[in-house]
């Protein structure tokens, strides 16, 4: 199952992903529409020692937010692996139990009057999630975790080789 993977070192904090996410979740699917309606992005770029770090939902295997959900709205789709509180028969009441449960802080209250928690839904209607498609630095990738791990190993090996003065 493909997941959104993060190459933190490639991120320069341009926030294009956050804007693209907001646009994808806006009624008219545009950045302007998102800004006008105050639609927030569902992933976060946090500043750590002056360096940007993307933080987003991992769509966990056994999600704490699903266990915490007292209405049954938060569910993990067994086929796609997507964890979301939208599009189900049961609906969110904004009790914030999921927010308390998520170790990544990836679930937040929706802005405005409506009481509802919002989180990454991995753009179910798109082949590639909006944030990944928008990232100009290839800091986000939508790939199989195994491929990500393999590539990571390769790049670490390359880095080590470079450090050791050995051409990779």
């Amino acid at each position: 199952m493909k997941e959104i993977m993060v190459y933190t070192e490639r991120c320069n904090g341009c926030l294009t992903c956050v804007l693209a996410c907001a646009a994808a979740h806006a009624e008219d699917k545009t950045i302007v529409g998102a800004m006008a309606a105050g639609v927030p992005g569902r992933l976060f770029i946090q500043a750590v020692n002056g360096r940007p770090v993307p933080v987003l939902c991992r769509h966990c295997e056994e999600p704490a937010c699903v266990a915490a959900c007292m209405t049954g709205a938060m569910q993990k789709d067994p086929e796609t692996g997507i964890v979301t509180n939208e599009g189900h028969e049961q609906t969110c009441v904004g009790c914030w139990m999921c927010i308390m449960a998520c170790p990544y802080g990836a679930v937040v209250p929706a802005p405005g009057k409506e009481k509802m928690a919002i989180k990454c839904d991995r753009c179910p209607d798109r082949d590639v999630p909006a944030c990944v498609a928008a990232c100009p630095n290839l800091a986000l990738a939508f790939i199989e975790p195994e491929d990500f791990a393999r590539e990571r190993q390769k790049s670490v090996a390359t880095a080590l080789a470079v450090e050791a003065g050995v051409p990779a």
């Binding site: 976060f44 946090q46 750590v48 933080v55 209405t71 049961q90 009441v93 914030w96």
Partner: protein
């Protein structure tokens, strides 16, 4: 084929059933419950009372859930007794359910303090849909309501009835609301918001008696009914809700050898030690990760997590309960969200307290540390990173290098990742 019997059709029971079905496609699973309705969320009863959630929207699973998972349902029957020797659950109508594995997730019931008049008319707990329906029926002909107990359930009930247009008074024995979870500072913020809305609070006094019309007239010389406080004050009320606490429903294993303290004692595998008998949810006592104490942790997420662990072990796949943190809870009144986790009120020797208090913004953050490990947390006004703090607490992570950043408004998982 293994026969599984689950007593209790709620958070823990449903979670166990789902887990067992996933791991044992052939197993014969039966769920028993005295309540006749498909599984619903008790946590939403205040929303139902307040008129913001319909009865149908209380269900926590789709309509075809039991059929799809091939779960036999035995609703409307009480398990009167478990015979651990014969491995039989006896129902109140005399029927016997044979089990190989039994999961007891019978939850808890409203505790009615032993004061005169408490069993009278117009006095209710708030634990079941039936309770909520009775309250609604009474609310229709009531003008004033008294809520006994200023804990989570009491305040939620107060808020709901207030929304229905009743005059609401909350009576709390302790000098602050939410005495179990919050410290005085956090409680004061929430109190002020609810008072501003028009809900009345009487703190620091308990109730002496609930007076039915006859007695009320004798005492006051006027028509009516209501509550008499310990300090002698009288509160006229046509509707009284008792929310002073709950008791675990352990009656079905009394005298069977299953160990019971405040709840059913279980090990890390949710096993009671009796062959094939497991327990979880509000009815069970487990170990609190932070305090190390064994006790009840009667909240929804813990019930779900324990049901899942029990399900694994019942299906023959050993799995340990990772442990949860007690007293984790969220409330929101008048748009001020609040959360308390762990030893939020810990004080004195060996504890370090980080605090930020901005009353003008209804903002209060408090982190309790012991040896640089987070052991307690209160967030009022801004709860966004509650899960990140809780995870650090659960993992007992040393936060020495993060400490100066913990209270900053931009604190988040990114900082943890890079620490």
């Amino acid at each position: 084929m293994t026969a599984y019997v689950i007593v209790g059709n709620s958070a823990a029971g449903i979670s166990a059933a789902e887990t067992i079905r996933r791991l044992d496609p052939e197993g014969d699973i039966t769920i028993v419950d005295v309540e006749k309705t498909p599984a619903y969320s008790r946590c939403l009863l205040p929303n139902y009372l307040g008129g913001t959630r319909s009865e149908d929207a209380l269900r926590i699973r789709p309509r075809d859930f039991y059929q799809k998972l091939r779960l036999n349902t035995c609703f409307g029957y009480r398990v009167a007794r478990v015979d651990v020797g014969e491995k039989v659950a006896r129902l109140d109508n005399g029927a016997r359910l044979k089990y190989d594995r039994l999961f007891i997730s019978t939850g808890s019931s409203t505790f009615m303090p032993p004061v005169p008049g408490i069993t009278g008319e117009g006095v209710y707990g708030l634990r079941t849909l039936e309770d909520a329906k009775k309250i609604l029926a009474q609310a229709g002909q009531a003008r004033r309501a008294v809520i006994i107990g200023g804990g989570f359930v009491g305040l939620e009930a107060a808020w709901a009835l207030y929304r229905r247009g009743l005059e609401v008074t909350v009576v709390e024995k302790m000098p602050q609301i939410l005495p179990q979870q919050f410290d005085a500072c956090a409680a004061a913020i929430l109190l002020r918001e609810m008072q501003a809305e028009g809900i009345r609070f009487i703190l620091g006094t308990g109730i002496k008696e609930i007076a039915a019309p006859g007695l009320w007239e004798k005492l006051t010389g006027k028509a009516g009914r209501g509550v008499i406080l310990e300090n002698g004050d009288r509160l006229k009320a046509e509707l009284v809700i008792v929310a002073t606490g709950t008791r675990a429903n352990t009656g079905l294993v009394e005298g069977t050898g299953v160990k019971v303290n405040l709840g059913i004692v279980v090990d890390k595998y949710q096993s009671t030690g009796m062959e094939g008998v497991y327990a979880g949810g509000d009815v069970a006592e487990t170990e609190d990760v932070v305090s190390g104490r064994i006790g009840l942790t009667p909240i929804w997420p813990n019930a779900v997590a324990q049901g899942r662990v029990a399900g694994y072990n019942m299906a023959g796949i050993p799995r340990e309960y990772g442990g949860m943190i007690g007293m984790q809870n969220a409330v929101e009144f008048r748009d001020v969200p609040a959360i308390a986790v762990g030893l939020a009120q810990a004080d004195g020797d060996g504890y370090e307290i980080l605090k930020e208090y901005r009353p003008e913004h209804n903002l209060y953050k408090k982190i309790v540390l012991k040896d640089d490990i987070i052991v307690g947390l209160i967030l009022v006004g801004d709860i966004r990173q509650a899960g990140v703090y809780s995870a650090l607490m659960r993992k007992k992570a040393k936060v020495t290098r993060l400490k100066h950043r913990l209270l900053r408004p931009d604190f988040g998982y990114g900082q943890v990742l890079s620490a």
